[in-house]
Symmetry: C2
Subunit: 754 residues, 2 copies
């Protein structure tokens, strides 16, 4: 449709063989003239970020533990504020006060058939200087675990996800009244105690199995990057898929005057006590389990037979917390816009960590600082972004996206009016660009990635990603003009922006080379990062270049560079997936019930190790997908009209541009105002069934996955859970969201009409 954007992508194979010097393509959303100017600023920008500065910033920020409420966390926030100021930005700290429990009492002990008490300690390593800062380290724990002191039989539940409980039931193993031990992985950790409690368990232990991030996957730290025997993954277990942020202030900012729930009213605190442990602490518990050997997919990397339990195994678990309020220090820095100052481009990365957090989150924060420094330099050279740029360093991401959520909730009305986009980063490593987010930004991401060089292969970042995607088996990447963005679930600060406030959002970072097993442990340190990850910060530099270009383009574009054809295509794909999902579920249910009737489960069962038939399910009705399919068609048509109008509006020399029509500025302004609402149009004020905080009708973290996204979640989860009437109702609500989007796009198109 718009050759200037598509040529280099469609011709990828050819270009790879016969590179030819060409003028860089006109930037989407810019006229030929403004694109040339923009590219000059971008070239200057890209030269500025320095790996050496990132290394020194990481050394400083990760020098001491800096969790929520810590001395060094506040110190970091103030240092960050001052850094932004030194770059020429307006920077302030915005404070919130949130519920932040810290451990008062922690016990895991095997009381039968033998006695063993878990150390619950991560030992100091002489190779890693910061690992010995015992006085400042948070102990190993799961924040927002409910208090409890329980003694009960122990049952192994694999990853503790829904399918695992189905498997337990098939084997006749109940967790009612038991303490479960689950391994980390396959879900947001908060899902594990939630499901355990739903199934009647009274406690939950989560451990790191060496098959998942320990010695079976690579050398253990300090000899390699993987989790050592005593490494523990801390982390929040709040029920984030219900709502993130301060458990006491759902939906509103945790400001001094905010109305707060009582602790008992806070639904996101776990119903049962939870503690994380290392595999060296877990092994004696697992060895004590009786019962049958677990299925092959449940077997971990310890040199033992894994059993369901309980047999004689009985465990005593105590978790008690100090349920205090803690201050959050969000650092908010601004570069004011010029003629479109009331449109905000926001970019953030958190600064709090569980302990020293060199990788998580500092490796994503130090590129952000370098972007800010570079933009400060450009400012000094005369660059003036059209839109206001806001750079944030969030506090309290680790316990539950606290800093970003409270900020979004506090500023929601402003964001509704002003927010153009939010770009998030978190830990950054090596390898391939990962980008997920709003599908109107696929073309935009592709273009930025094409303009940055991968430090290892020297090809552009988009090309490397595209080729690696092909090598990974997705041949579509060979011909599709734009890179595909995966949809966003949760797990970092993008969630409140996208899923609560409806801001077009991206989450960006490099990853895919080298594994890591220091996540949320004291070993996530400067020594670890500079020994095993992006040791020379070349991917830190690449990240600052990719994100910096994105921010500058969003800030400077004449017309916001959104394209809606990809969004409409993706929505159509989701609708098809939902139809297939219904049909597949219907088939599975029919097959299951038939097998129950004909006695197939009974016939297949070994009387010495009997398995139970799964429960009979109600047959799946047909669903009326017509409203959704019609809405997709309407959106496709509107998107096609808009994308053509936008391309025409900014067409280069010889094309018909708004500028040649007279009141171009007013028309672009009117279109931009509409585009600003293009993600908001897909929110529903009532939110998702049972979790109204989540309002986006296209994207949400799964209620039983936590990190993993469910697209068109209200319909998808209703189908998965067999709530057929709800599914049919929600189809209409999703369709309405798409129709609102189509209407809005037509209004934007009208604004651009010459």
């Amino acid at each position: 449709m718009r050759p200037f954007a598509f040529v280099p992508l469609l011709a990828l194979g050819t270009l790879a063989l016969t590179p030819i010097a060409v003028d860089p393509p006109q930037l989407r959303g810019f006229t030929a003239a403004s694109s040339r100017v923009q590219r000059e600023w971008e070239d200057k920008f890209k030269a500025i970020p320095e790996p050496a500065r990132m290394r020194e910033s990481m050394r400083r920020l990760a020098a001491r533990p800096h969790h929520v409420g810590s001395v060094y966390g506040k110190d970091n926030a103030e240092w960050l504020r001052d850094q932004f100021r030194s770059y020429g930005w307006q920077a302030e700290i915005e404070r919130f006060d949130v519920l932040f429990p810290t451990p008062k009492e922690r016990v895991v002990e095997l009381v039968a058939p033998t006695h063993f008490r878990a150390s619950l300690q991560e030992p100091t390593l002489k190779e890693d200087a910061t690992s010995g800062q015992r006085d400042e380290q948070l102990p190993t724990y799961n924040a927002y675990s409910g208090d409890g002191d329980v003694t009960a039989p122990l049952v192994y539940v694999n990853y503790g996800i829904p399918a695992d409980y189905d498997e337990l039931a098939r084997h006749g193993v109940s967790v009612k009244g038991a303490i479960v031990i689950a391994r980390y992985g396959q879900s947001w950790r908060g899902i594990k105690p939630k499901l355990a409690a739903e199934h009647g368990a009274v406690g939950c232990i989560i451990y790191s199995d060496p098959r998942d991030d320990g010695y079976q996957t690579g050398e253990a730290y300090p000899n390699g990057p993987m989790r050592p025997a005593t490494g523990v993954q801390r982390g929040s277990v709040a029920d984030m898929p219900t709502y993130p942020g301060d458990p006491l202030t759902p939906g509103v900012g945790a400001t001094p005057g905010a109305k707060r729930l009582s602790l008992a009213e806070a639904t996101t605190i776990t119903k049962v006590p939870v503690l994380p442990i290392s595999w060296s602490d877990a092994e004696p518990l697992l060895r004590a389990l009786g019962g049958e050997i677990v299925p092959a997919a449940w077997r971990g990397g310890l040199g033992i037979g894994y059993h369901f339990g309980p047999g004689a195994a009985k465990v005593h678990l105590v978790v008690k917390s100090n349920w205090q309020q803690a201050p959050l220090y969000d650092v908010i820095a601004k570069l004011p816009g010029s003629d479109q100052a009331d449109q905000w481009v926001i970019r953030g990365n958190h600064h709090d960590a569980w302990v020293n957090g060199a990788e998580d989150p500092i490796s994503g924060l130090v590129p952000e600082l370098e972007e800010a420094r570079a933009m400060g330099e450009l400012w000094k050279q005369g660059w003036r972004p059209r839109r206001t740029i806001i750079y944030a360093a969030w506090d309290g991401e680790e316990p539950g996206l606290l800093g970003s959520t409270e900020w979004v909730e506090t500023h929601e009305a402003e964001l509704r009016e002003h927010a153009a986009a939010y770009i998030n980063t978190d830990g950054n490593d090596r390898g391939f660009l990962g980008a997920q987010g709003s599908h109107a930004l696929e073309n935009f991401v592709t273009a930025a990635a094409q303009d940055v060089t991968d430090p290892e292969t020297k090809m552009d970042v988009a090309k490397r990603l595209r080729l690696a995607t092909i090598a990974g088996g997705t041949a579509e990447a060979r011909t599709r003009a734009d890179l595909r963005l995966d949809a966003l679930g949760s797990g970092s600060d993008f969630t409140p922006f996208l899923q609560h406030a409806g801001v077009p959002t991206l989450n960006v970072g490099f990853a895919g080379e080298g594994d890591q097993g220091i996540y949320h442990s004291i070993y996530d340190s400067f020594h670890w990062y500079t020994t095993y990850s992006d040791t020379s910060f070349v991917y830190g530099k690449a990240l600052s270049q990719v994100v910096g270009l994105m921010v500058m383009r969003l800030a400077d574009a004449d017309l916001l560079p959104f394209t809606f054809g990809n969004l409409a295509e993706t929505a159509g794909d989701y609708a098809k997936e939902l139809q297939s999902l219904r049909d597949r579920r219907a088939g599975e249910i029919t097959e299951r019930n038939t097998q129950i009737d004909e006695g197939a489960y009974a016939a297949a069962s070994d009387p010495r190790q009997p398995t139970q038939a799964p429960p009979r399910l109600a047959a799946a009705p047909q669903l009326n997908f017509a409203p959704l399919l019609n809405a997709v068609e309407a959106l496709k048509a509107a998107a096609s009209r808009y994308d053509a109008a936008a391309a025409g509006a900014t067409a280069g020399a010889g094309g018909v541009t708004l500028a040649s029509q007279g009141n171009a500025a007013a028309q672009l302004r009117a279109a931009n105002v509409k585009l600003l609402q293009s993600e908001r149009a897909m929110l529903s004020p009532d939110g998702l069934p049972g979790r109204p905080w989540f309002r986006h009708m296209l994207y949400a973290p799964g209620y039983y996955t936590g990190y993993g996204v469910k697209t068109m979640p209200a319909v998808r989860e209703a189908i998965e859970q067999g709530k057929w009437a709800e599914a049919e109702r929600e189809i209409v609500r999703v369709a309405d969201a798409l129709k609102r989007e189509a209407t809005l796009l037509d209004e934007a198109t009208a604004a651009l009409r010459p």
Copy 2:
């Protein structure tokens, strides 16, 4: 087509809910009258086999080690002969003399970076009386390993199958000049040293990983059925996919006067020394390996990180054998036929073991004895089988199907003229009927399985298998009239009958409940079997009933009960698979070459742990499948005509039977003589490319799988290996085999024409 056979199967679901008393269906191949008589004998037969006798026979036969050449092996053979005689059979021992190496020197030692010498011992267990018979036990070794004394770096090759060597190449790891260590599983063990040698290795160690049959899969012996730390799997590593039997007498019986190859000429002896070890002996070797961590699918159940090697790991491996001749004692027992004595129904199970062999092979042999005893009883009551029944207890199966192969090679001319069918059993356990073999026997197997009761569920054996197959995800089992037989690869004494001599063949046994890890170790004992397997011998009884009915029906039928519609259908399925295989390979090759051209492999490679692109392959041409597809159509038509004619010939009261036409006996005789050749018609005298001993054009063990079958092997393996011209030639040869079969069926049909 023939309601008497199909009714109970098609109406399965209904019958399950509303069982009604019906006359048993008329037996295929019998007239209404002869079927009634036959069923009376069968009812008598089924009442005779006794679990208590099987237990006592197992106790005696497994009381001492009884491998080839052992004192107790000969004693067992004589006892077996005498048992048959006591049942009223004519029984003799038929002796052959074969090459049978036994260990002279065995060393596995780690010589760098540290020193460790493998014990190569299986300790005595106080719980298991026969485990202490050290003087008579064969040491742990792999028979037909080449002699060698090598010291070389050690490389881990996972299961040591072709895909594993592709993976090694991707990671830049070469085994040239190295000793490989492979884990047991995923292939016939002889494939591992063969492939290692093909890739330049100088030695091969095979160990039992606890993830495959040790503690990760169940409790270890003596606390459970799985392999203990020091358990070792002995076994042959002769290149059986080239030819089984005595390595010195390929294609001819190892009789006193036979021409024998020299040791150097015997192509089935491994090119490199091989030894099997336990995981407790393997663990220090695996721990010593350097290099990268292996991919997830390569990781075993030891509590270590698995590495490719070699790093500093160096191993000294010595294997030297006594290359002596040993006597084989096949026990051959006969019940003479009456009016069709020149047609032979053969049934066998081996009697030799690696050590005590309670499960392998005695658990399959003791039901055979009970069948023979029962038939002897019937004989005394007046039963006279029409055809001659031959019961065999083979010697030397373990080292390489020696006893069966030499017997088949010796009697090949007679078998060509007389053999109607061969039914094999080997170890028997618990659970579900497993039956593989000639597809003309699918309906026959189904009918026999319907007439035997499963001891655990009390439903008939066919129904339980059918329901379990449905529960396993194969919904087709709900509607297909006959059970499906898997095709036979190799691994037991059926191979010479089916794949060399073209005798219609079945391999039958119960399995699927309970795992085992004592295979080929000293712990395969009476104590193990009676503690963990078919402890009350109820499945031994069921096996004797299923196989006994099969033998009696084959022996007594007026018309051999073969149906060819299923054979033709299956041949058609194979032809379709081959077309898909070509297309898939063609697509994979194109995709691979494209990715090499566009640099996708290079782009996906991590420079810190680089991976190599796989080698470019020649593009796959289209193949002319028309001859094969035409032959399938011809076979389908001929099969349809024959099956209708056969059903008509034996139709019951009111139908047109041969008997009503006058010379029925002569016509049936003529048809039977044709049917006797119906499997032989699919042999090709030239055999498969590169391995002429294997003559069947439909079934063979894979050249690189060993146990696993390759159907239409000459075509399939040519496609897999990219030998496109060979594939096109072999399509014609397979088509010719099917056309011969079609012609033969038309001749049989003509013989039955009223």
